[in-house]
């Protein structure tokens, strides 16, 4: 599904190399987790994949179902099925949540040559998805993320994911800021989307999320590289001993 090969990325504005050869492939139907110390490049990887400005790919590449996604505009990547749940969801004053989501959904459908969804069908869809994530109607009326608590913003990201039904989902620290109950809600939301044709890349610092969203593969990222890959046990090891052992082991 998602193939990342020897990806080198530097900042566009300054001569700072952030990703130094990332190799990673996420198969359809699988959940991969990425853990790693602060500043190791996890969010950068997610931004580069989704097309944010400010980064320059100096070597390597990435494909989504065989297509070179790095050559696409951000909106084309979204239409191709890529979704990033942001570590810091953005507030957009003046743009209503419903308008935002409906515009996004219909833009994606249009790009894929599908018919736009009617207002009535959309309302039905979003009500149903919001209900399972316990997002109330009042929140949907407000401007995108404005005045939302940290946890509400994260739930809103998952709502968007549930409505847009992307094929490849990247979740950047979606668990941070969530209380225990919200963590369960969000995980249920993610698990509900798990199926044979969808891939997940879950960035997290904590085992707790992985208790709910059981990963198939766990990667450790440090200093812009994947330095170790293993099964679910690897996350448990990090939880118990931190990164010191792993870092010395590969050094």
């Amino acid at each position: 599904m998602l193939e990342i090969k020897n990806l080198h990325v530097k900042l566009e504005e300054e001569d700072k190399q952030i990703l130094k050869g990332v190799d990673l492939s996420v198969e359809a139907g699988k959940v991969h987790a990425i853990m790693g110390p602060n500043g190791s490049g996890k969010s950068t990887l997610s931004y580069v994949l989704s097309g944010r400005d400010g980064y320059a790919v100096t070597q390597g590449g990435a494909t989504l179902e065989g297509e070179d996604i790095l050559a696409m505009e951000p909106e084309e990547r979204a239409a191709a099925g890529l979704f990033l749940a942001f570590q810091y969801p953005v507030e957009i004053p003046g743009v209503g949540n419903m308008t935002f989501l409906r515009t996004a959904l219909n833009a994606q459908r249009k790009a894929r040559g599908q018919e736009e969804m009617s207002a009535a069908d959309f309302l039905k869809l979003i009500r149903e998805k919001a209900k399972t994530l316990q997002i109330d109607a009042e929140m949907l009326k407000r401007p995108v993320n404005v005045g939302f608590s940290g946890g509400e913003k994260k739930r809103n990201e998952i709502l968007q994911m549930a409505v847009l039904e992307p094929r490849m989902c990247i979740l950047d620290e979606t668990d941070s800021g969530l209380d225990v109950d919200a963590m369960k809600l969000v995980s249920d939301g993610v698990n509900a989307l798990r199926d044979a044709c969808r891939g997940f890349l879950v960035i997290t610092h904590y085992q707790r999320l992985l208790d709910h969203i059981q990963p198939d593969v766990v990667h450790i990222m440090a200093d812009g590289r994947i330095i170790k890959t293993g099964g679910p046990d690897l996350a448990l090891e990090v939880e118990k001993n931190g990164y010191a052992d792993i870092l010395t082991e590969v050094a």
Partner: protein, 428 residues
């Protein structure tokens, strides 16, 4: 102060060969007085304090630059409303296209008819509010209008008419040079909504004198026409009595040159005046200027100025706004915000916000900002699949929303917002 020779020359060049329109004695007197004011002040010059950002030459040239006609290919705004519809074609009242001038709660007639009559209530107002608005800042083009205008409406609001008065300004001649003058008197407790729509002329000079008696209310919403080459200079002069309300909103899209002046005098306690504007400018030949002067001369009045401009491809926006609080105008609540969204580095916003306060117990604030599109928000929208153009449009609408919210009637605000969306969609 003597008028500099260059200004005298330009003024006389403009006035050469012009004869004042005929009418009743009082009308002739008012026009002569206005013409004297024009000569006394001289027509605007680029060195005048409030003309530094906007070049007046094409507005004062003897010959109006021509303006190509523009067919928007869409239903005119406000057309679907239940309204009293009045049409002016290149500044001339079009009786055939208009509804009969009858509406319960108002007296309405054509300016030329009123000015032909020896006795008329408009006599006390025509040119009076405009003349009051000449100090401390001269507005010579408004005086020129008072001198030359023959057409327009005089409206006396005595009740609360069920329908708005809706004016359509059609532009049929590429060379039309028009002076239109309305006089509106809102009697105590009366209330009217006045809508204006259309480009009006190649060069349009409009003055609206508004006298609102105690507890009267006037809502004013206008959309200036989208003809790319049209020029407009407008002056709204409003005097507010105690507990009265004046709310005015203007939407401007296109037009090479627009100068909207608004002069408001709060003369009775507890009066409320809101002026707002939303403007969309595209291209180096777009120049839009809001010049507002609000005078607080009574206790416990509220004034709000909310102006938003979206500028791209080298467009220029100007805002000159002043709040003057006279001594004794205690408990004044004055607010002013002017903001521009610059969609590229070529566009510019020039702002001159001013506060002048001679009372000690007042709350006045003003702010002016100029900013680019929020790149983080733009990326967030695009990452959800919204194409760049459409995402920008969403953010532009969000930016303008704050000005559109100043319109009290939600259905009118919605109609303007929907129209903006439709324009965006069509271009996309």
């Amino acid at each position: 102060m003597a008028v500099p020779q260059v200004k005298q020359d330009a003024t006389e060049a403009r006035l050469a060969g012009i004869a004042l329109p005929e009418g009743a004695g009082w009308a002739v007197t008012a026009r002569q007085a206005a013409l004297a004011r024009v000569r006394e002040m001289g027509l605007p010059h680029g060195r005048d304090e409030y003309w530094k950002f906007t070049r007046p030459d094409t507005l004062i040239a003897p010959q109006a630059p021509s303006a190509a006609l523009f067919d928007a290919g869409e239903a005119p705004l406000f057309g679907a409303r239940d309204r009293l519809h009045v049409v002016f074609r290149d500044g001339v009242f079009d009786a055939a296209a208009s509804d009969p001038l009858e509406l319960a709660g108002i007296e309405i007639e054509r300016l030329s008819d009123a000015m032909a009559r020896d006795i008329h209530w408009a006599r006390d107002l025509y040119g009076t509010l405009e003349a009051r608005g000449q100090t401390p800042v001269a507005r010579p083009l408004a005086a020129l209008n008072t001198a030359l205008a023959t057409d327009g409406l005089v409206i006396r609001v005595t009740g609360k008419p069920a329908r708005p008065v809706s004016l359509s300004y059609l532009h049929d001649s590429e060379t039309s040079d028009v002076h239109l003058h309305h006089v509106i008197r809102v009697e105590p407790g009366a209330e009217l909504t006045l809508l204006e729509n259309g480009p009006a002329a190649a060069r349009f000079n409009k003055v609206m004198e508004v006298d609102i008696a105690d507890t009267g209310v006037l809502h004013h919403v206008r959309a200036q026409g989208r003809d790319h080459e049209r020029r407009a200079v407008t002056g709204s002069f409003a005097r507010l009595g105690a507990g009265s309300v004046f709310k005015s909103f203007t939407l401007t899209v296109n037009g090479v040159l627009t100068r909207n002046e608004c002069v408001i005098e709060l003369t009775g306690d507890d009066a409320v005046a809101h002026v707002a504007g939303a403007c969309l400018g595209d291209g180096a030949d777009f120049h839009h200027d809001d010049t507002v002067f609000v005078t607080h001369d009574a206790v416990n009045c509220e004034s709000r100025q909310v102006f938003k401009k979206v500028l791209r491809n080298g467009a220029t926006g100007v805002f000159q706004g002043k709040i003057l609080v006279k001594s004794g105008a205690q408990k004044t609540d004055g607010y002013q915000i002017s903001q521009s969204l610059l969609l590229d580095g070529d566009s510019q916003f020039l702002a001159k916000p001013e506060l002048e306060i001679y009372a000690d117990d007042v709350a006045c604030s003003h702010g002016s900002t100029s900013g680019a599109i929020d790149e983080t928000a733009l990326f967030y929208l695009r990452a959800r699949g919204v194409p760049e153009r459409q995402a920008t449009d969403l953010l532009v609408l969000a930016f303008l929303a704050e000005a559109l919210e100043e319109i009290d009637d939600d259905s009118i605000a919605e109609e303007l917002t929907d129209r903006l969306k439709a324009w965006f969609d069509r271009r996309a």
